[in-house]
């Protein structure tokens, strides 16, 4: 059978190509490490504000006694039960200020306990159970039946721009309430105690949340592959030599490539955004002009990266492998699916060198929550920095290509 001759030839040529061999062996391990690391983390240090106006339990009658004032502050007990690793808690007196801190994206959530919180919780518990006594924080209390109190409503202003974080906060709060109330108060669900005010009306689906990152990733993949392939082919076919021996500067060549592929990227971006909006009703509440600027700055940087990849690749196959080697991890670590906040500190620095992290962050802010120039200034500045550095590097490499072509 000649199939073995073919097989031997293919394997032998792979074995000869050191870089391919290296990638074949390393790539699977690399992916597993990245996947495991980016997926395994939990949220840490989420900034929240708590306004505790709860006066605690007062004026209760304890079994076999007349009246007693219990120094029980259920709100404080709730706070004490929150996981200190998950949250970075700031306490405030100002309920309005806390809510606006959420709107300003300074904190993820603001939780305001009303003055009568403890009292109302106990009242509610007794009314629902139809009994006169309740177990609260280890003590049996009986409430005066004559005292009628408006239902306990803890106002949670929540930034639901990131549905993952929003869900995590609610789950965590509910768990803390459950712990404070104890198993006896099964009738009093944590959900009934929380009056959630989502910043974006709870309209942001997981689909909306991941869309900007996926679009960014699609753009990255297409732009980088297209550019790297084109430059490699230009070199291997000899036409690059012909261009570089003409009276043209290396920067003119690089800028020319950048202009061409930026045009392509813009068309593709428009198609990606339009198709997402029309077919899947992806949330897009911000300015299209800002998105266009993000896309341009982002893709210019990508082309620089692509040119660099092409200069270190001997042929199209190597370029393709390098592209995949760099890009597949990018989508894992750039906060597209799993928020940066959950990422272990060991690989978080990788996220911060990935342009997709900033593109995703900026696109999300504009598309999901309609934020403006000032809010994405940092992301845009980093993307612009990457674009400039990559463009300069690609020009230098282009100059060098002339000598290695």
């Amino acid at each position: 059978m000649k199939s073995f001759t073919i097989m031997r030839n293919v394997l032998w040529r792979i074995a000869r190509d050191r870089r391919t061999l290296f990638l074949i062996v390393l790539l699977p391990l690399f992916f597993v490490l990245l996947y495991g690391n980016s997926f395994s983390g939990s949220f840490r240090n989420l900034p929240i504000v708590i306004v505790n106006q709860d006066n605690g339990l007062a004026s209760v009658r304890v079994k076999n006694a007349d009246r007693i004032t219990l120094a029980v502050n259920l709100a404080a007990a709730f706070v004490a039960n929150l996981d200190s690793d998950t949250f970075d808690i700031t306490f405030s007196e100002d309920a309005d200020g806390a809510a606006s801190a959420v709107a300003e994206h300074e904190v993820w959530a603001a939780l305001v306990f009303p003055q009568n919180f403890s009292h109302a919780v106990v009242n509610e518990a007794l009314q629902q159970s139809g009994e006169r006594t309740a177990e609260v924080d280890g003590q049996t209390v009986t409430l005066l039946p004559s005292v009628v109190i408006e239902g306990p409503s803890t106002v949670l202003t929540l930034d639901d721009g990131n549905p993952l974080i929003a869900d995590a906060i609610i789950t965590s709060f509910a768990a803390s309430f459950a712990a404070v109330l104890g198993t006896q108060q099964a009738s009093l669900t944590p959900e009934s105690l929380l009056e959630v005010h989502p910043l974006y009306g709870g309209d942001i689906r997981m689909l909306d949340f991941t869309a900007p990152g996926i679009i960014g990733f699609a753009l990255t993949l297409i732009t980088v592959l297209l550019t790297a392939m084109a430059v490699v082919r230009e070199r291997t076919s000899g036409t690059l030599t012909r261009i570089l021996i003409a009276p043209i500067r290396a920067w003119e060549v690089s800028i020319g490539y950048t202009l061409a592929f930026s045009t392509v990227a813009l068309v593709q971006a428009a198609e990606l955004f339009l198709a997402s909006a029309l077919l899947f009703d992806i949330r897009f509440v911000g300015s299209a002009a800002i998105v266009a600027v993000i896309v341009i700055v982002f893709t210019v940087g990508l082309q620089g990266i692509a040119t660099l990849i092409s200069t270190v690749s001997k042929n199209e196959a190597q370029a393709m492998q390098l592209v995949l080697f760099l890009l597949i991890p990018a989508i894992m670590i750039s906060g597209v699916f799993w928020p940066l906040e959950t990422m272990p500190a060991t690989i978080r620095p990788l996220a911060y060198i990935s342009p997709l992290t900033y593109a995703n962050g900026a696109l999300r802010k504009v598309m999901l929550t309609g934020q403006g120039w000032a809010d994405i200034a940092l992301e845009l500045a980093v993307l612009a920095g990457i674009a400039v550095v990559m463009l300069v590097l690609s020009i230098l490499m282009m100059r060098r290509q002339a000598f290695s072509a």
């Binding site: 000899g238 036409t239 021996i245 009276p247 043209i248 000598f403």
Partner: protein, 245 residues
């Protein structure tokens, strides 16, 4: 000075890993000369041309074209280079290839059109001008490549095996054109394996193992090697080159 050297290389040395491609090579070519570069495969002809054009940096020595030390941007508009591979865009038509590369030189659209017409006549591809280059035969693509290299009327051109795969009739008309260019003062360096081509050169240099073994007019080479034909001379030289190694 009427006979100023437009190509001057001194002590060029270039190694690829352990293989010595250029071994301290000196070369001077005067303006308007049709210089034939001969030598066995792997003698260093292409490396020499690429180094002279500034596409490779020599490890030692220097190359000067038109007085400028290479690599230099200044000579590029007057420099023609035809690489050994086709170096054309297969997905563009013949004319589109010419127009693109012409556009890299400071030629107007009209000039490019005119020159493209002339050169397509020379390489006998006028009737194929609107065909995709990729669909042409190897010899035809080489002809497109030659046309591109001469489009901007270079003062100095390096042609790396311009007639490989080209049929005898067209090969002869190429060489007629080279002679005409040389009479007009264009300096040409052409690599070749063919004795009949070498015979048409003003000066022939024989390269072996990165060194210029001999240089002179075809008659001078016959005298110096004491052979009857240039064929014999090349064989003698090749043997000599291998012996001195």
């Amino acid at each position: 000075m009427a006979t100023e050297a437009v190509i001057r290389a001194t002590g060029l040395r270039k190694t690829f890993r352990t293989r010595v491609a250029l071994d301290g090579l000196d070369l001077a070519v005067e303006q308007g000369r049709l210089y034939g570069l001969a030598g066995p495969n792997g003698a260093g002809k292409t490396t020499l041309i690429r180094t002279l054009c500034g596409l490779l940096r020599p490890d030692e020595g220097e190359a000067r074209l038109l007085g400028w030390q290479m690599p230099s941007v200044r000579v590029r508009s007057q420099l023609g280079y035809m690489p050994q591979d086709f170096a054309v865009y297969d997905d563009l038509t013949v004319l589109e290839n010419l127009e693109f590369f012409g556009g890299l030189y400071d030629l107007s659209r009209k000039q490019i059109r005119e020159r493209a017409g002339e050169l397509l006549d020379l390489v006998d591809l006028s009737d194929r001008r609107d065909e995709k280059t990729g669909t042409l035969s190897g010899g035809m693509r080489r002809r497109v490549s030659l046309a591109i290299s001469l489009l901007h009327k270079p003062r100095l051109a390096f042609l790396d095996e311009p007639t490989a795969g080209v049929d005898p009739k067209l090969r002869r008309s190429f060489w007629d054109h080279f002679s005409r260019l040389s009479e007009q003062g264009v300096t040409l360096v052409v690599t070749t394996h063919l004795v009949e081509e070498a015979l048409r050169c003003d000066v022939v240099g024989f390269l072996s193992q990165g060194r210029l073994l001999i240089q002179g007019s075809p008659t001078e080479i016959l005298q110096q090697t004491g052979t009857e034909t240039l064929d014999d001379a090349f064989i003698v030289l090749q043997d000599r080159g291998e012996l001195t190694r």
